[in-house]
């Protein structure tokens, strides 16, 4: 399959390891990977902060980069950005773009997948031959869970990882408090939510907290670092990319 990688602005700039891991898993499964270098950002931060008009260019940029019919699927290591592409691009396009763009937005969104969805639903794979000898707890991020309904898919992939010790996260489905600009605009409330999430992560005595969104991991990891907990965060793609011969280095 000819698969395009959408790195997301945050992944490209701050978490290249998670995006590279996504590419490696796809390469391992025998797919041709393309990376349109003109790509930038899905515009979610703009839309969620009220700046839909300013997001218009980013929506058009995304469509320009990925509408190409030779691209069979767009794979993204972020449930949140896929949520934005699927649910918000159409809203912006309907309001600020012409009909032709709106139609292309629709078609492009329909072939855009979060990594775990793509592996399990589209490729029908739940074992990618990974090896990760660590105690891990998994936080299902809100948009993966409630916008994309990825459900058990990430856990199915994780359960097939060799030597992983998966421990259940208490109150896993409650938000970590990130919420984009919410973390800055309502910093204290966001911190109160983070405190509970960290408490649950620490209760599991895991070495790593895993998730499918670098943004949420940046939030949880930033809190865990501030408190010198010694617990790390890891993107699920990095676990899936790890093998006996090449462990994740951090």
């Amino acid at each position: 399959m000819r698969v395009a990688l959408f790195a997301t602005c945050l992944g490209d700039t701050m978490f290249p390891g998670a995006v590279a891991a996504t590419a490696k898993v796809l390469a391992r499964l025998g797919h041709e990977i393309v990376f349109p270098t003109t790509q930038t950002c899905c515009g979610q931060m703009h839309v969620n902060t009220g700046y839909q008009r300013e997001a218009r260019g980013l929506v058009e940029r995304f469509v320009e980069d990925f509408a190409d019919p030779s691209i069979e699927a767009v794979v993204v290591p972020s449930g949140s950005c896929v949520g934005s592409v699927r649910h918000q691009h159409e809203i912006v396009a309907r309001r600020y773009c012409d009909t032709a763009t709106w139609e292309r937005v629709h078609a492009t969104a329909a072939k855009t997948y979060e990594l775990c969805e793509f592996l399990v639903d589209v490729l029908g794979v739940s074992d990618v031959g990974a090896y990760f000898p660590h105690r891990v707890t998994y936080h299902p991020t809100c948009h993966s869970l409630r916008m994309l309904r990825v459900g058990e898919k990430p856990l199915r992939l994780l359960r097939n990882v060799r030597e992983i010790e998966l421990v259940e996260l208490p109150e896993a489905e409650s938000c970590c408090g990130f919420g984009g600009t919410f973390a800055v605009k309502n910093a204290e409330t966001s911190t109160a939510m983070l405190a509970d999430k960290m408490r649950h992560v620490l209760d599991t005595r895991a070495e790593f907290c895993a998730a499918g969104d670098s943004s949420c991991l940046m939030h949880i990891g930033g809190g865990l670092s501030r408190l010198s907990t010694g617990v790390g965060t890891v993107h699920i793609a990095e676990i899936l990319a790890a093998t006996e011969s090449r462990e994740v280095t951090r």
Binding site: A20, L29, G30, I91
Partner: protein
Amino acid sequence: MTFLGTPEVPPRGTGNLRGTQSFPEAAHDRLADSQLRRNLGKATRTIRAKRLAAAGELPDWEALRDAGSAIKTQVLANLPELLETFEQRVTERGGTVHWAPDAAAANEIITGLLGGAREVVKVKSMATQEIGLNEHLESAGISAFETDLAELIVQLAGDTPSHILVPAIHRNRAEIRELFLRAMPGVDPDLDDDPANLAAAARRYLRQKFMAAEVAISGANFGIAETGTLTVVESEGNGRMCLTMPRKLITLMGIEKLLPRFADLEVFLQLLPRSSTGERMNPYTSMWTGVTPGDGPEEFHLVLLDNGRSATLADEIGRSALHCIRCSACLNVCPVYERTGGHAYGSTYPGPIGAVLSPQLAGMAGTDPNASLPYASSLCGACYDACPVKIDIPSLLVELRHQHVREAAPRGEAAIMKAAAAAMGDSRRWELAQRAAGLGRLLARDGWIRALPPPLRGWTGARDLPAPPKQTFRQWWASPQAREELRREAERGLG
């Protein structure tokens, strides 16, 4: 076309629909209140579990939600016609209908209907909270006694409710015992904090009020257009007492609370109790249609309240907030509400639904504290999943943020957003911006940045920020190393 004298947008509502502080300011004090945090955490966790069980046991729960949503959509699409039918039916059955465009008008109408009564009993009602009826009556020298246990607690404490369904969710039983000893006339001085004994004390106190009151004031959960029937759904029986014992009954109802047909109750009387208290059925459902000689009140007045509802209805997207049946499921699942409680929202309507309802009913122009409400959410989506009438609250919040930015974007933020959009609009500019962001490494020690200036100080106040890596993904992708690593993965395959 605009006609002279026809306002383009109907007027916004007045009354208790906004606080005096913005949400982050109001949240600050609540977050530090450890007793409040404990009470809220415990109460919301308990109700959440009950609701999940009550909804989960119905095989057609999702179909019921769809039906509830469809009926409410139909109501809003035909509201003027349905209201006229409703008025006609209520009148035919001996009731009197009054129309109140705003809070002040509703207060005037109700006060005028009291006919010299100095004491009234009340059934728990969000609408009367919204218009500030108790305060208005008090200023006119009339005592209004709340008869719902939690509302009574709030009233005796001189407090305001912090939850739609559980108004005293912020108080625990020890606090309630102290309050009763202090503020309840004739209370047993040996009262302990056993919930059953607290309830019994309230019952003894309220019984005298029910026996003496000439007038009762209620809200309404539903009004049936087809028959002119009103419905109050409650748990304690105090509502039944108020609705049947006094000679005169006055009901205040928001105009959006209509249902077209009596049969529609089949859907809503399943959705409401399961979503609100997590019960299969609430203990008391009272229905009445006009007046019936020799049975119940001899005089019935219905006050229909607009107070910003027409303005909300005028917004094609925002109007779905009027589907709300005040079950409070969204409050109980909201991670923000669970930490801050209801008072942080300022308005009578707290939580996720309040964050979309208050700014629409009362407006959010300029420095209005209501303008901070659409941002009081991490957009986690738990509210949408829990809503029995499928109000897409996260999308509404995003829509209201859009409206707020279009009208009054904060200047600094707008500049940052425009600059970011420009930098991201083109990959060459984007790469330059990435290089600039990479300079953030200079601020880091051991891979983490621990302090940043505003606006990012909000982040580093409680969390570290990872240092930007030396290589962006696109730089890695363009490197020979990437090609080599991906070639090896492809060769390795799954075998």
